[in-house]
């Protein structure tokens, strides 16, 4: 069962142009992969812009399983060191795949408040992709930038580009690692209800419209729902926010490939 599904996934991948690197963190996953304006530890990767808004140091861990296949799982860990005057420093590690296809990345980010309600940051990623036993591996470095602007209590705007310089994977056919350009807004109806809408464009892939809604049923318990347009996926999840700890569960549902569950937690320090 497992192997045919894996093959099916790899075949479908070519047709629907699935993007391997999603947003990190179970909260973002539950919200349809939106999260350009979540000022949490995952912003280290998701948007170094909003990272500048984070007011405390924090650490987070997530495990995601693609389509319930053990081989296609992502493990990630991120850490942010908040400073009062010098901005926020972050780092993250991600691992994806299995012995035939493996992606590993380590990144550093820096962000700070640029002006009143305006935040900006950048990240540097080192990535390693290794294919099979005989195909060898490739190391490359990519840069990312992000911005976030809090227009009002209700509305904020975010922008992020990952892999600014179109890092080259192979000379053959000039193969490049995908550059991802994303724009997003967050609308806060009330402290308990927020709505994310984001557009993501990768040069060779269709525009992905992503949206997600988060509702705090109770002070500590939130439910989330999201949709992605390309590839079409729905997602849902919930989160438990204790004093300094947050637990989040999420799942993506692709109609052919099935469920991709994820869970994780994060711990805040200080603040």
């Amino acid at each position: 069962m497992r192997l045919p599904k894996l093959i099916f996934f790899l075949l479908l991948c070519g047709q629907i142009h699935c993007q391997i690197t999603p947003q990190l963190g179970s909260r973002s996953i539950a919200l349809g992969g939106t999260g350009l304006l979540h000022a949490d530890v995952w912003s280290v990767y998701n948007n170094p812009g909003i990272l500048g808004k984070l007011q405390k140091s924090s650490i987070g861990v997530t495990y995601q399983n693609r389509f319930s296949l053990q081989e296609l799982s992502t493990q990630s860990i991120a850490y942010v060191q908040h400073t009062d005057n010098a901005g926020n420093f972050g780092m993250q590690f991600q691992h994806y795949g299995f012995h035939l296809y493996r992606e590993f990345q380590a990144g550093l980010s820096y962000a700070k408040q640029l002006s009143n309600k305006f935040y900006g940051g950048f990240g540097l990623n080192w990535q390693n992709i290794s294919l099979g036993e005989n195909y060898g591996q490739k190391n490359f470095v990519s840069g990312s930038i992000g911005l976030a602007y809090i227009l009002s209590q209700e509305l904020s705007f975010g922008f992020r580009v990952q892999n600014l310089s179109r890092a080259r994977l192979a000379e053959f056919e000039d193969e490049r690692y995908p550059t991802r350009f994303a724009l997003g807004v967050q609308y806060t109806f009330s402290p308990a209800l927020l709505w994310n809408v984001e557009l993501e464009k990768s040069i060779l892939f269709p525009t992905n419209l992503k949206t997600g809604v988060e509702y705090l049923i109770q002070d500590v318990f939130a439910i989330r729902f999201g949709v992605n347009s390309a590839p079409f996926q729905s997602s849902f999840g919930f989160g438990l926010a204790l004093k300094k700890m947050h637990f989040d569960m999420a799942a993506n549902w692709h109609s052919q490939l099935g469920l991709s569950p994820a869970f994780g937690f994060l711990i805040d320090f200080g603040g």
Binding site: K117, L147, Y149, F157, F159, V161, F181, L183
Partner: protein, 690 residues
Amino acid sequence: MRTYVLIFFLFMTGSSFAQELTRDQIIEQRIEFIGDNFEDADIDLTTYFEELYQFFDTPINLNNATASELRQLRLLTDMQVLALVNYRERFGQMVSIYELNAVAGFDEELVEMLLPFVSVSPVVEDDFLRRNALKHGKHEIITRYERVLQEKQGYVDVPDSIKAEKPNNYYLGSPDNLYLRYRSTYKNRISWGVTTEKDAGEAMVRNDKFVGFDYYSAHLFLKDFWKFDKIALGDFQVNFGQGLTFWSGFGLGKTANISSANRYGTGLKPYTSVNESRFMRGVGVNLQRRHLDFTAFGSIRKIDANLYDVDSLNEVFQGGFSSFQITGYHRTPRELENKDAITEKLVGGEIAYKGKGLRIGFTSVYAQFSQPFDPVLTGYKQFNFQGNQLITSGINYRYYFRKMSWFGETAMSDNLKFATVNGLTWQLDPRLTLLSVYRNYDKAYQALYSTAFGETSNNRGEVGWYVGFNARIHKKVSVTTYFDQFKYTFYKWLTDDYSVGHEFFAQIDYKHTYKTSLYLRFRSKTTERNTQDEVFGAKFQVPLQKNSLRLNYTQIISGHWSMKTRFEWVNYKLDNLVSNGYLFFQDLIFKFNRIPLKIYGRYAIFDTESYDSRVYAYENDLWGVFSIPSYFYQGIRTYVMLKYDLGRKLDVWVRYDLWSYANRDEISSRLERIDGGEKSTIKIQLKIKL
């Protein structure tokens, strides 16, 4: 009453944003606003921006500005100009610029926009002295260097012996683009200067001989001098009426600013641009006496053309030329051959009557070429001009009645074919303006310099009706929309039948505060073109549709930061051929506090299925350079520009830009070809004020 109004507005200005936005930012915004209205990479607006900067340096005094001067700002509608003149007549001279708020049809936003270009000061007697002109004139030198960093095919280094075999496969000069300009102005009374340029690929040294720049232009322009109102010597521009008879500049048509459908022929103007094809070289004078406005000009200029070979063997002298060359490039032996191949002589002028609310002008222009223009006239070109002389004459008018302004022009070429364009601007309400233009151009109407409103570039074989509205629905919301329906009365390029078309445009502007603004623009244009199918005989027509949707968000964040974000989708349909294009970009501008440095940056990603679904976007560029490139294929686009003001005397610009395409192993073709998927350009400019 007036005093109260004045006091009120003087107080009000304390809260206005004029203090927060610098004059520089306002002029930049203005350029950007205009740039975003165009979707055409080739438009040359240098002259307009020169004027704008001119007004910026020497603001128009509202107390003695004439209606035509006010219109040159291109910020005011007919009605607003009229209201201002009436206000002045009724209340006398203005005391403060903020009094404008009390003039009918002016609102705060418009006043803010006008501020950098106008002033209010008591009208003093003419203090013009020739001595002052030399002593107090403003002198400006601009030098610019530009180069594409990748090697193009035309610059490949090969031995001369190989070059000699195919000399036209290589450029003669270096890939550097050089530009040098000197201009001196005294108020708006005197302007003189020299402009020179060498395009990339043009040689400064040919056959071991120094030949210098490829293009030189010089002008001397005097206003209110001796008995004349305007005198132009050297290079200048002439624009009359609606541009049907004669308009040497560029004409704007259907843009997001509906009033651009209404032209104001301003007569003589100095010329300082580097567009090598559309200007006059000679003498022009303008006289204004009471109700009479008289302009005459003469121009003799060598222009580029494709000459026919002279068959010397059979001693048959055919002569003549087959086409005009308007690119201005002289980079290969073949292009050089065409340089200055024929002489164009132009004589023309306008006599106009100016009354209260009425102006009628009679224009006529005679053109003569040193050799006959003898193009192959078949198919859709059948009625084009040929021969070596042409007379085109016309009548233009402008008439104000209540809240209406009627304008138009009717012209006739010497083959007795007519063309007419007539329009109306009607301010139905202070918040609603209507503009309508009807044009009917005969298929055989001929004019060498016509750029009147319409679809066809030469104003020929077209009937159409345009209606546009601009409505300010709310303090924060305005809507612009137009509809244009047209039909062609003859064949066109790739159109073997009489075809029809229409265009629809709508834009909603939302200005949350002066810092936050948003617009949504939709444009849809349908024309007809030959079917792509293999058909025996004449091809039937299929619809060609181009739709585009743009969402633009501009945000001024603080005194330092501002940004702009855009999403645009273009959809192109020809028969069953469909292609889509997408563009996303993020702009960020940062202004330093301590040092006079400003940094502009853009990061864009684009994905268009073909060249047909390309997307246009305005880019920040060097002072005096105006760029609206088209984004096509797939890739990223980025640029960074630094502007450093070294005191009042020296401004420096440095700009680096990059196109990085995906799935392309070459860019452009033939001599312009670049191997690889990247193209980057570096530009450096110095502006020195003396």
